[in-house]
């Protein structure tokens, strides 16, 4: 097969057959699992209908990993799991262990190597995030550095079960929001605050004017004549600094060192359990970029988390807690100022007002 691919330069090979990577116990019990139990924040066990037990040890990863990291986890998988492992949607590594007596030694080995075991149960899950300054041209902030700073500070909540419910934090370095950022318990979003700068000459060579105009969600880009040649202008009064035009037209850069930063959003979820999936809502419109440790962002997340931990009932997600106590109290408890930016003025703005006399005084 390998030779054939090379000789003919086969394309459209397709997805690899996942059956090649399933462990014997998983193959045997595929579709026949009975229940699972969380043993501690790093370990769970899935029990099959026939009594077979599959142990999973979860370990955090920074998503961006080296070949050496990959070899480390392969060594562990070979030593304890017959070479079998998987990743989670939130970039964790999961070791799939068929022999119970391998669980503790595996965890000890990981801890010895400096890896983080945890992330199951009522914990802070690994923060899903984007590429940031490491690999993205539209980013308003770095991603990995903010995530590292937050996770260092909240580390205890990854390894110990002491929150009312699972808490999912997500990070996106611009409004493109790669990943499910906009419906997380706490979302951190890279935010621009100045309109794009137009390089008229480059624009003529690099950009298509109609698609640049069409890229704007607020119709703020109009055709214009610059030095007798076709170009565009931006209505700065209505521009919302989303960066969509820059995605389409490289001659409209929007990144701005002094004015870029991060906004904080709360109360979203994707699970349908109890309440319907919902988007996160604005808590803090802007915190300046402050590398390498972003203390303002870390403090804000800690404030939200402490208030949640204090106020929520067992099992309540951040959004369910806020719905119960009301947004006015959320702002009061956290001390975050409520500003004009918190009142929606985009497409569905009208649906977000309080059409009632219900108010907590």
């Amino acid at each position: 097969m390998a030779e054939e691919i090379k000789k003919k330069r086969l394309t459209d090979i397709g997805p690899h057959d996942y059956n090649d990577y399933l462990s014997p116990m998983i193959k045997k019990n595929y579709g026949k699992w009975a229940f699972h139990e969380i043993l501690d924040p790093g370990t769970m066990v899935h029990v099959a209908e026939n009594g077979d037990k599959l142990y999973t040890v979860r370990m955090g990863s920074p998503r961006l990993v080296s070949g050496s990291f990959v070899r480390d986890i392969c060594d562990i998988a070979d030593k304890y799991c017959g070479g079998h492992l998987r990743f989670t949607t939130r970039n964790n590594v999961e070791f799939l262990i068929e022999d119970e007596k391998n669980v503790e030694p595996l965890k000890k080995d990981l801890e010895k190597m400096g890896y983080n075991v945890g992330g199951i149960g009522n914990i802070i899950a690994n923060i899903v995030h984007t590429q940031g300054w490491i690999h993205c041209h539209t980013s308003a902030s770095d991603a990995s550095g903010v995530v590292k700073s937050v996770m260092d500070e909240l580390y205890e909540y990854f390894v110990e079960d002491k929150l009312p419910s699972k808490t999912r934090i997500a990070f996106a370095c611009c409004l493109n929001m790669c990943g499910s950022v906009s419906s997380s318990d706490i979302a951190i979003v890279g935010t621009h605050r100045k309109p794009p700068r137009i390089d008229a000459e480059r624009l003529r060579n690099l950009c298509e004017i109609p698609s640049t105009i069409a890229a704007c969600p607020t119709n703020s880009i109009r055709p214009d004549t610059v030095d007798g040649k076709p170009g565009v202008k931006v209505n700065e009064e209505t521009c919302v600094f989303c960066g969509s035009c820059y995605t389409v037209c490289p001659a409209m850069p929007i990144a701005n060192a002094e004015n870029d930063g991060l906004s904080i959003w709360v109360g979203g979820k994707v699970s349908n359990a109890r309440t319907k999936p919902t988007f996160s809502k604005l808590a803090i419109p802007f915190i300046p970029n402050d590398p390498p440790r972003w203390p303002g962002v870390v403090d804000a997340i800690k404030t939200i988390l402490n208030a949640y931990k204090e106020g929520a009932e067992p099992g309540e997600r951040v959004g369910e807690w806020i719905e119960r106590i009301g947004w006015s109290r959320f702002f009061k408890i956290t001390g975050f100022p409520f500003t004009k930016y918190h009142i929606d003025d985009f497409r569905l703005a009208e649906t977000t007002m309080n059409y009632s006399s219900h108010t907590r005084l």
């Binding site: 698609s211 389409v248 037209c249």
Partner: protein, 78 residues
């Protein structure tokens, strides 16, 4: 679709991209729609046009570019 028709479609697509280079970005979806109309009388389907487009790419007469959305472009050495 005969090889002859296929060649005609391919020449037409490559010709369009060359003619409008630097002025218009042809999105594959628009090219497929346009060619469907252009060659309607010869009974070509969307899949025929897509097959012709695939051959253009396999022979590297054109490449795919990306700026917010995908478009057809001349290879950089042209």
């Amino acid at each position: 679709m005969t090889d002859e028709t296929k060649k005609k479609v391919e020449d037409k697509i490559v010709g369009l991209v060359k003619e409008y280079a630097g002025k218009k970005r042809f999105k594959p979806i628009d090219i497929v729609k346009e060619m469907e109309k252009e060659f309607a009388s010869e009974g070509l389907t969307k899949d025929d046009i897509k097959a012709a487009l695939k051959e253009i790419m396999d022979e590297e007469k054109l490449v795919y570019g990306y700026a917010g959305g995908s478009f057809l472009a001349l290879p950089e050495n042209q």
